[in-house]
């Protein structure tokens, strides 16, 4: 859209349209209200005010809505329904992009034209109490402020007391014009225990009391002759049935909007609140305060609010609003003349001028008012049309930068794919002809070509793309990378063709694919293709559950085939007549010991059972997210004992599964660490201590969590010490294995502290499956490195969803970022949150490293290299295909609500996978050094 920092000023406002020669036009419309109090209650759902909950817990508000002089609406928020973008929408009237979600954690100063800036420029004095996001967005706008941090989700009383304590003194003062209050408690209750929690009622009662206090103070201080005051009650977003927000479901986007002022007509009967957009609040407030509408606002004013003013004023307001939208339309749409709203606006402007002429001539007939009302409808139509065109548009895409990025990732993927035969060969060494291509002539030609294209694109038109705004050094680096990669690709392809011509079609050595290979390939390909459909992105967990189920059945069939192979001499007709006595003989294993066989047979079944149980632990996705699941059952107050037993059992199981390959020191550290995990959860109040059944004070558990962190660091330290010793000094593979396992157990311990207690079974089950599979399946059935890598990757994906994640931002468990921290510290919080979110894929990837390095012997010297290669390929194919898909689908209806969050997840996952691959390569170093 138009440039960010420019702001509308009073002098930009259009004059009242006139066709005659009567220069009687007011520049600025007079404000309608004296003082405005905006009460923003975070996560206030529409039914908390207008529904049965409102009737029960907000009696005063309900009374005002039904019988008071008020206007009430349901304001629809746009996804992403996260606080910061919503505050932006309320104050700028624009529709923020998805980047704002990421910025939500670290909100920078808002430079766009906004209501507060306009109010300050007009000399209004603003006071703010509440969420400190506002303070960060508008650092110099408030005469007085007190920000409270929104990061301690478990605190829902202090945050609101901090706001309310200023209220009495402020309401008694006369030195302010706008008061903004942002209450966070309700949102925190939602995150803690959902919209049906018993804590919601008292909180709503508290809010109702506050509204009553403000309203009575405002009305009592209204003086005869002065302008009336306005009280606005709104929510920034709603709350889903699970209590979170961020998505686009109805309870998340529907928020109440109640405007209360003595200026409005008193209502006689309860009416159903009408529906408006959240962005409509801005033009309404701006015009009501006599301020210019912010430049990028796409909203249209809420007409009922202006009903009590004269027809001339109403038309004036509508004219101002449509003029502003028309300017924005001109700025942002290339062929704006074709838009429906444009013509409507110009027609309305013309008839407005005629109407004004008649009006100023002193005509007061019925005809004039009828004409005026017709004009009103005309303006409203134009407003609606322009507003909807603008909101659909959602900004332009910077195609040039997108294409450059796409070319880069495609090149990386092609290099990976071209390197496949070498990477999966016996020595697993890939030679990338980087230096030779850097010194070749085509490289320089390409480089010059790319540079000239860049200059051409950036100088042509007034395109304001990201790449053109970058410094030249970075752009040159990107151009160099692109051309070098292209040369590398060409030379690799040429080499491949040459060697292909020499050896002929020798490499098709017809070993064929087994059913398992077919399944692994079709499953991976199918998942990648399914990402093009928004439903499959929303329900991606279903894909993975389905795939690993099929995988387990395929493995089961493989195991059966190994242990129940029919005898070779089994070919005569008598086989048809096998009687019952023969059966045990026939069913007896051909190889392997009895117990081994049964354990191998039961492993896939155990995995299947585990997966089925974990699947019902957390309902994720969109369509079935509302169904009851075990985590809700466990997290309710009355099942605290069950939750405690379950998490304690999981911790014990984790200990027994992990300890067997650790050194003694690590064993003790692990045991103490897991004990610390339990006491941390007890301190936070999630679980019960067996000897302390009486409820006690809930603390932040900082001491306990830090105690666990110390053990995590200790285990990681001993592990890396072993690793370093094995890498540098002795090249002892046993020591290396133990070191790797210790690093792995450190990661497990960190996961245990970060995961919520009801998710501890996920961790325990993943360890159980890993142990059983490694012991009885992968080694016994001689799956090669590629197969095990794919299986690990699939399980990693499935466990990502088992722990309750989805492709929706709302399911990220931010509370993990505060484990063991007194206050919000950006870097550790982001690291811990990312770690706990991706703990599933990460654990499986780490297990893959441990497994492959323990399997790495003389027979499979390059298995680590193969595993690393497969892992990189498995991660890059979906990412690259998804980037291309999203670019192609950029005008899709769900691009912001479904596809871009998934892109964010993919990017983050790729980052995690990169770290894992670097670790892989480091572990593989000594193999390369040896060979």
């Amino acid at each position: 859209m138009s440039s960010f920092s420019s702001k509308t000023t009073v002098s930009d406002l259009p004059a009242e349209p006139l066709s005659g020669n009567n220069p009687n036009s007011s520049k600025v419309p007079a404000p309608l209200f004296h003082r405005v109090v905006i009460v923003l209650i975070d996560a206030l759902r529409e039914d908390f005010v207008f529904g049965s909950k409102g009737q029960q817990y907000m009696p005063y508000t309900q009374h005002l809505v039904e019988r008071g002089s008020s206007h009430s609406f349901v304001a629809k928020a746009r996804p992403p329904t996260v606080t910061m973008p919503r505050i932006k929408a309320l104050t700028t009237g624009s529709i923020p992009g998805f980047v704002d979600v990421v910025m939500n954690l670290n909100s920078p100063v808002l430079l766009e034209d906004n209501l507060l800036w306009q109010a300050k420029a007009a000399g209004k004095r603003i006071i703010f109490y509440g969420d400190d996001t506002w303070v960060r967005l508008f650092p110099k706008h408030f005469m007085e402020y007190d920000g409270t941090t929104s990061f301690f989700v478990s605190d829902y009383t202090e945050v609101d007391k901090n706001v309310t304590r200023h209220l009495d003194s402020t309401l008694n003062r006369d030195d302010w014009d706008i008061l903004i209050l942002h209450y966070l408690g309700l949102d925190h209750i939602g995150h803690l225990s959902g919209p049906h929690s018993s804590l919601i009622g008292p909180k709503l009662l508290e809010m109702d009391d506050i509204l009553k206090k403000i309203h009575s103070s405002l009305t009592s201080r209204e003086m005869e002759g002065s302008l009336p005051n306005l009280l606005v009650l709104c929510g920034d977003h709603g709350m889903s049935e699970t209590g979170s927000h961020g998505g686009s479901s109805d309870p998340e986007i529907n928020t109440p909007l109640v405007l209360i002022s003595s200026a409005f007509k008193r209502k006689v009967d309860m009416e159903k609140p009408g529906t408006v957009a959240q962005v409509d609040v801005l033009p309404t407030l701006a015009l009501a305060l006599g301020l210019p509408i912010s430049r990028n606002s796409v909203g249209c004013l809420i007409q009922p609010v202006f009903e009590h003013t004269s027809l001339r004023d109403q038309l004036r307001f509508l004219h101002l609003n449509s003029f502003q939208l028309n300017c924005l339309l001109k700025d942002s749409t290339p062929n704006f003349q074709k838009e429906e709203g444009y013509d409507q606006f110009h027609l309305a402007e013309k008839s407005h001028a005629n109407w004004m002429k008649l009006y100023l001539e002193g005509n007061t007939s019925e005809v004039l008012s009828n004409l005026g009302r017709k004009l009103l409808r005309q303006y409203l139509g134009a407003l609606k049309a322009m507003s909807s065109t603008l909101s659909k548009q959602l900004g332009k895409y910077d195609m040039y930068s997108m294409i450059v990025g796409m070319v880069l990732v495609l090149q990386v993927l092609l290099v990976l794919i071209l390197a496949m035969p070498e990477a999966l060969s016996h020595p697993a060494e890939v030679e990338i002809p980087l230096y030779s291509s850097l010194l070749s002539l085509p490289f320089y030609m390409l480089w010059l070509l790319c540079c000239s294209i860049h200059v051409l694109v950036c100088t042509s038109a007034e395109s304001s793309c990201y790449l053109c705004n970058l410094s030249w050094g970075l752009v040159l680096a990107a151009i160099t990378t692109i051309s070098a990669m292209l040369c590398v690709l060409l030379s690799m392809a040429g080499r491949k063709l040459a060697s292909g011509a020499k050896t002929g079609t020798k490499n098709t050595n017809g070993s064929g694919f087994s059913e398992l290979d077919m399944l692994l390939l079709t499953g991976t390909a199918g998942n990648v293709i399914s990402l093009g459909s928004s439903s499959f992105v929303e329900e991606e967990h279903q894909t993975w559950y389905f795939l690993i189920n099929t995988l387990c059945l395929a493995i089961f069939q493989d195991v059966c085939r190994k242990y129940f192979r029919e005898r070779k001499n089994y070919s005569d007709d008598s086989s048809y007549l096998v009687s019952k006595e023969d059966l045990p003989v026939l069913l007896s294993p051909i190889s392997g010991q009895g117990s081994q066989k049964w354990l191998a047979l039961s492993t896939p079944l155990l995995t299947l059972a585990c997966c089925r149980l974990l699947r019902s632990l957390n309902q994720t996705g969109v369509q079935w997210a509302h169904l009851p699941d075990m985590s809700h059952w466990l997290n309710s107050w009355e099942h605290k004992a069950e939750l405690s037993v379950l998490s304690a059992a999981s911790l014990v199981l984790i200990f027994f599964l992990v300890q067997k390959r650790c050194s003694l020191v690590s064993k003790i550290a692990l045991a103490l660490g897991l004990l610390g995990v339990y006491s941390y959860r007890a301190a936070v109040g999630n679980v019960l201590f067996p000897w302390q059944l009486a409820s006690r004070d809930i603390s932040k558990g900082t001491v306990e969590a830090r105690f666990v962190y110390i053990f995590v660091l200790g285990i990681l330290f001993t592990g890396s010490k072993d690793l370093l010793r094995s890498q540098v000094i002795t090249a002892d593979s046993w020591l290396k294995c133990r070191g790797l396992w210790e690093v792995y157990s450190g990661i497990v311990l960190l996961c245990a502290i970060l995961l919520r207690p009801h998710n501890l079974p996920v961790l325990a089950c993943s360890l159980l499956i890993q142990t059983a599979m490694a012991q009885y399946i992968w080694k016994e059935l001689q799956y090669d490195a590629a197969q095990t890598s794919i299986i690990h990757y699939w399980f990693g994906q499935a466990f990502f969803y088992f722990q309750g994640n989805s492709n929706n931002i709302a399911t990220v468990d931010i509370s993990a970022g505060f484990v063991g921290l007194e206050s919000y510290v950006a870097i550790p919080a982001i690291f811990l949150t990312a770690f706990s979110t991706y703990s599933g894929p990460l654990l499986w990837a780490c297990h893959l490293v441990c497994y492959l390095s323990s399997a790495q012997d003389s027979r499979h010297p390059a298995s680590l290299g193969h595993g690393c290669y497969c892992f990189a390929l498995l991660r890059s194919i979906p990412t690259v295909v998804y980037i291309i898909l999203v670019t192609a689908l950029r005008y899709h209806l769900f691009i912001w609500s479904v596809f871009s969050p998934k892109l964010l997840y993919e990017a983050m996952h790729t980052l995690v996978a990169t770290v894992v691959c670097i670790f892989f390569t480091a572990m593989d170093q000594n193999h390369i050094a040896q060979s």
Partner: protein
């Protein structure tokens, strides 16, 4: 070789009859069930198809005499075989039900739908095995292991079973889509997928066997 070709002809006619019986079973309930439609009264369609496929299969295998020869012809032996077959069939229904639950079918909600699908799958797969091989698990394992087929009927069993299972598997894909179509309800898309896969199997099996008749050297016959 001649022998195989004659057998294939028999298989083609048998498969035509089975396919035809499925179509009849789809149409017949119109006369008995009110407001019948494949989506609306899905279970009626499901039972009708399962029943007709079961009856037609048993009749065909009995008439063609493909069922394994029995040692004794005493009544008690036949009865015990029958009982055993029934038990196998029930066990297979339970097995399919379990697998469907593992795939994510709800355990407590709609158990009847899940079980009906399991019955349909058993009719398409287990029942044919029972008819062709008898209640003999060992022979089943032989047929379904690699290179275990010893007659064209074994190969046919492999193909139709694989077709049914793959059809069911693929039939689950439309369920998560948000199209809100009637056939997305559980278990309609899966049972339609299974039927379609079974029909494809019936269609493909004779052709495939004919095509590969030179490679398929069965050890007996």
């Amino acid at each position: 070789m001649r022998d195989v070709e004659i057998n294939i002809k028999g298989m083609v006619s048998a498969h035509t009859i089975i396919a035809f019986s499925i179509f009849i079973a789809t149409l017949m309930p119109h006369f008995f069930v009110e407001n019948y439609s494949v989506y609306g009264t899905h279970l009626a369609w499901l039972y009708s198809v399962s029943g007709s496929v079961a009856v037609v299969n048993i009749t065909i295998f009995w008439l063609l005499g493909i069922s394994p020869p029995t040692k004794k012809h005493t009544l008690s032996y036949k009865v015990s075989r029958l009982v055993k077959s029934c038990l196998h069939f029930v066990a297979s229904c339970l097995f399919f039900h379990l697998v469907l639950v593992l795939y994510g079918a709800t355990l407590l909600e709609a158990p009847l739908e899940t079980f009906s699908l399991a019955v349909l799958l058993s009719c398409f797969t287990t029942l044919r095995c029972l008819c062709a091989l008898g209640p003999n698990v060992q022979a089943w394992i032989r047929v379904f292991s690699r290179d275990g087929a010893m007659s064209i009927w074994d190969t046919c069993l492999q193909i139709t079973t694989a077709g049914t299972l793959i059809g069911t598997w693929l039939g689950a894909f439309p369920i998560p889509l948000d199209w809100d179509r009637p056939w997305q309800a559980w278990p309609i898309s899966c049972s339609l997928g299974a039927t379609f896969g079974f029909l494809m199997g019936l269609l493909v099996a004779p052709g495939w066997i004919y095509w590969h008749r030179k490679q398929l050297t069965y050890k007996c016959k």
